[in-house]
């Protein structure tokens, strides 16, 4: 329980290059309201392969916390504080295979406090699954938009 990373492998269709993977990751994170803060990327820059990246912290909405608590009843998140999530990861494309590592770390704060790491046990798989699913979906959509 906690921010254990997930490691995934996706088979890429022909024509799915590194630029497509980079766009898919960025767009999937944007759909979750995240942006990459490390490394700092310019508008025309790709997410570098084989390098660790990290997003900004996005507060979780009450509906997201409720959905988590329904899915992971054994490690419920408290409702007396604000919670936020930061994603970090790394990817590489090799032999038409996307290999990636993804982590989701929870942060907490009181209404007038500063964000600090959430130290209680939690199931990061819930947060990883939605990011992973988003990346898969964006890859499929981008591949369809850019047929070879």
């Amino acid at each position: 329980m906690g921010p254990q990373p997930t490691i995934g492998i996706l088979q890429l269709e022909a024509g799915e290059e590194r630029s497509l993977v980079s766009r898919a990751i960025l767009e999937a994170l944007q759909l979750l309201r995240h942006s990459i803060v490390d490394p700092e990327l310019s508008l025309d820059e790709l997410l570098p392969a084989k390098e660790k990246w990290e997003t900004d912290l996005v507060p979780l909405e009450a509906a997201e916390i409720a959905a988590y608590n329904r899915a992971a009843a054994g490690s419920r998140l408290p409702d007396d504080r604000l919670l936020g999530v930061v994603y970090s990861g790394r990817y590489e494309v090799e032999d038409k295979e996307l290999r990636f590592e993804l982590s989701a770390v929870l942060y907490q704060r009181g209404l007038k406090g500063k964000y600090r790491k959430y130290r209680e046990p939690y199931d990061s798989a819930f947060f990883l699954a939605r990011a992973e699913e988003g990346i898969r979906e964006r890859l499929r959509a981008l591949a369809a938009e850019n047929p070879e």
Partner: protein
């Protein structure tokens, strides 16, 4: 030491306890929406500046309960004036510091972004205002009682 010295010492110690209580109340109380204003994890960051600010003043006052290096006031009237100056300066200082720490109990929109920022600012203001209380404490508590 006189009863007046005891009252002034009590004001300082009570102000420290109130300041600590204000922070603890931020942790214990919840807003109407059910959120805590501060988490227990914020305790260190908020209590340390308060303790360091008050430690220097209360430490000095307590030390003068055991030693009196300065001459006593020349008359009862001079002693009374010293008491009033000490009382007013002490109250102004502590009210200002306690207000800055506790203003989010009045409204969450008051003050800086976080309670920790408010406490850090209160400590800074306390240091700026030390001209009000440091010499007063030194000479009021450090003077021998009139004979």
């Amino acid at each position: 030491m006189t009863r007046q010295h005891a009252v002034l010492t009590a004001i300082w110690i009570a102000s420290l306890l109130v300041a600590l209580g204000i922070v603890e109340a931020y942790i214990a109380l919840r807003t109407e929406e059910g959120y805590r204003v501060l988490l227990a994890e914020d305790r260190d960051e908020c209590l340390k500046p308060i303790l360091t600010l008050y430690a220097s003043y209360i430490g000095g006052i307590l030390a003068f309960w055991f030693t009196k290096p300065f001459r006593p006031p020349k008359s009862d009237r001079a002693a009374a004036v010293r008491l009033w100056i000490a009382l007013v300066c002490t109250v102004v200082f502590n009210v200002a510091v306690l207000y800055l720490i506790g203003q989010k109990h009045l409204s969450l929109d008051l003050g800086l972004d976080t309670v920790a920022d408010d406490v850090a600012f209160a400590r800074t203001v306390g240091l700026w205002m030390s001209f009000l209380v440091a010499p007063v404490n030194l000479f009021y508590f450090g003077a021998k009682a009139p004979s």
